[in-house]
Subunit: 296 residues, 4 copies
């Protein structure tokens, strides 16, 4: 069956086995957030999970739409998880993927508006502004293929050759299988982005093979695939989705997307939370409150 989800957590749930070969999974409860760590360790695991060898960390928390405050356990948990995936030194290049004009796909571009770009600030200027030592950060919104005529991967490679980062962070909207995952989940991975994520546009891979440095992807599910939703519901009745019906569902579902009703609030707050986790992980010498004041 072809269930559409970008979450390793949901792909893991599909596998019936308790301890599938090549996949390690552990779950912990942090302050205000549940963290699931899935690691794909070999080719057998890749085939089972349908995702490349690497680490996938899912952080589940209370709904973004319910509270606008971020200085609680959620920000700290995300910051800590991200910090562990990043190299300790060097310039970081943050890439905001997606289409600014389609709300559920705008997470990446809107997140980048709140990233503290520092690569152009000299040490002297930073010191005179009382900021201490700043880690160099650059931030780019490459736009979407249909508007630019350039594959995102081409744009990012061109810029990475100039900026020469020690790692790239991508931020993107994801698709989940279950409605209950929307607006309350963040996934981090050290394998970059593979084609087919987000609101349905396949893209070239943005990963270490292409860019020569680690690519950490941060994603927030904002849509559910309509066909997946309908098939799940039908099968939950105990019935089988026959082939002719499946084709109809796939066809009709391909034109639509399922989003939370409060999608604007979800994207606004998720963008801010993710941006602040990136800022906090990259500038540990500045307090979260001061970082928020610097970017908003």
């Amino acid at each position: 069956m072809n269930l559409r989800t970008d979450l390793a957590l949901e792909k893991r749930e599909i596998i019936a086995e308790e301890e599938p070969d090549g996949i390690i999974c552990e779950r912990t409860e942090a302050s205000g957030a549940a963290v699931t760590r899935i690691e794909v360790i070999n080719e057998a695991g890749e085939k089972k999970l349908g995702k490349p060898v690497g680490k996938y960390i899912t952080v589940e928390m209370s709904a973004f739409s319910e509270d606008s405050r971020i200085f609680d356990g959620r920000l700290k948990t995300l910051t800590d998880e991200l910090s562990r995936l990043l190299p300790k030194e060097g310039t970081i290049l943050v890439i905001g993927l997606g289409n600014r004009d389609i709300t559920p796909d705008a997470l990446g571009p809107r997140c980048c508006e709140l990233i503290l770009a520092t690569r152009h600030i000299s040490g002297e200027v930073a010191r005179s502004a009382g900021l201490g030592k700043l880690r160099p950060v650059a931030s780019v919104v490459p736009g979407v293929l249909g508007k630019t005529g350039i594959e995102t991967a081409e744009t990012v490679r061109g810029i990475a050759e100039t900026v020469k980062p020690s790692a790239v962070i991508t931020v993107d909207a994801l698709a989940a299988r279950k409605v209950s995952r929307l607006g309350c989940t963040v996934q981090l991975a050290d394998t970059g982005i593979v084609p087919g994520s987000g609101v349905g546009n396949s893209r070239c891979g943005l990963n270490r093979e292409l860019l020569g440095v680690p690519v950490i992807s941060i994603g927030v599910p904002t849509v559910v695939d309509a066909a997946t939703l309908v098939c799940d519901m039908i099968e939950d009745t105990g019935h089988t989705v026959e082939e002719s019906l499946r084709r109809r569902i796939e066809k009709e579902g391909a034109a639509v997307m399922v989003t939370p009703k409060e999608i604007d609030l979800t994207v606004e707050r998720a963008s801010r939370l993710v941006a602040m986790a990136i800022n906090c992980a990259l500038q540990p010498d500045i307090t979260p409150e001061d970082l928020l004041a610097l970017v908003s």
Copy 2:
């Protein structure tokens, strides 16, 4: 069964009878558009259709997202249908309903940005600008209850008492039952707006009872209710949706909405088409091309 749709056309399809009591229905093909006229003529018809006595005109056309040009049969058909519903004299008050910040609900506010407001332009100014005689038009975006603290109906009544229009036109996003109706359908009605339309917020009725003048509503379906979509799909398999499953579907579906993937384009173009139909119906002495130039 509780199928959620704001389209009289879809409610009519649900009724199995061929010639239901109290409902008259006819369908014609116009240039580039199919027009279905449904008239509810008495209380029996009201009960059957679940809509008050009055006229419901559905115009089906090619998808808004496929072509940005509007000076074809679609604009003319809409303009003609709207003209027939409007009084020939007096000020017209156009009300853009919905929430500007949620794309599928932004149709009304965005449409109002393209309405040619003329009530404040003196005859002398209009003549000196070469515009000839202008029909007085006012246009208001009342905002949503959650942001204003005021029921839309209260705001509109207050403004209508000041403007004293001969008729009110409301523009709003609607919910359809079928995905195939999204992004290619416009409904006109002479019964105003009844609670429960759009992206799920019930509102007080905006109608002749409240405002004392005819209320012509123009709506474009931009969302499908998720629960309705899933139930339809399941029943199309020949199975029954049992009560416990229905409750689960209703609960899960209540938090999400189903929209076209190209919702931003759909809303942008539908807003322009509807606004231009209103402008053309109200200022028949100005060409559509000149009207578009005046508002964009």
Copy 3:
């Protein structure tokens, strides 16, 4: 001489006399802000200052563009000054004046997006949300005459008749004489709004005469009149601006406006500061931090 400013403070500076008849003026330094209170007490004062009898309070502070944090003395000073001008009981109607699409004129509409509207929230709902007793607040953005065809004063009067507030607060962008006043000044007045403010569109007065209740206006200067700026500069050289030159300056200046280079940041932060001062003054039982979380 026809110097264009909406600030009572600047009009007072123009008057050469030390203690002009009918005008009382005092200046104090509050935490992080300088407060000047000007009171016009009779007709003689009205003629001298060119503003109606009433209180004009100017709060000068550090530039909005320099720091995004608001929980300092500035917010407290503004909240305290506003609280003194408001009635202790009854519904408050907040009106966001200006044009959302022109950045220096967007202060009012953007401020209203951050006003906590509560008029529609029942006591029971508020209590169950842990909010305690809420003062009823409604908030409206009436739009501009050129887009609506309705005078702002007409719209507000129509809504006020429905909402029946105990006072109205208007928020608007103002014009200052001096560049140094832009982006760091807030004026409060209990006389409502008189025509000619803001980015140059005259409007009908919004005041107690029209609405029957106190009208508290809050304004932030975001533009300097270009002709005023040029005339001031020339006269500072010790030369006279002759009549023919003045006419040329007036004509050329009428088409342009002078704004801070960081006008987008200025308007964003001023909107937030003013909205939060209104929220804090109206809901004293909720902390500023919680209020910010509720509206952003």
Copy 4:
């Protein structure tokens, strides 16, 4: 004297001589537009005009804010002038310079939203869509240094190395000396962009030296430098601006910008006119009406 203008036309006006060495100037009236061609032919001309050797074409027309229609002589004149500067073959890379969030600086980014990107469309797809042969076009909005941490020139060089265009077109907002030039002027040049244009941020040069291919810059003046405006006015009185006054004017003027009151309309329409001229010059086999329908 240090008059700030990005227009070669205005720099030429400052030079008192009738036929300055190294500069050729001619003026013609086209349909609905006046075209001034200035050519700097040697180093003497460079020094005189303060601009590098190359061609500068200024097109003066009726105000953008007065008419939204573009299918008149203005579009044709701009298209023809631009066509003459472009190579006949190869991919064109369009760069939208400036800051999307500051209205007078948003010309470049907003123009790019209306560029028909075609580089990713295969010949087969184009033919099946009835578009015939498409010239490959890519379009990028690199953002501003303060937000990205990357010099625009670095970003563009990185992308150009990937896209390998036969020429680059830049679109940017400019500063003019005279208010009367705002909102009705377009400048084309074949020398790229030199530092110091636009709303006051100096940038590295984007030119043939950096990119290895012709760089055609298209600019529209949207601001006047405040200090320049004031100095001009004072000197028009027949008086001299003394050094101490000049310093004060420079200091105060540095914080503000002078823009047309209808700057939002100016930028919206100028973006569309420039984008359509680029589209028409690059896709001569498609009619302007069809091109507009494809991008809006």
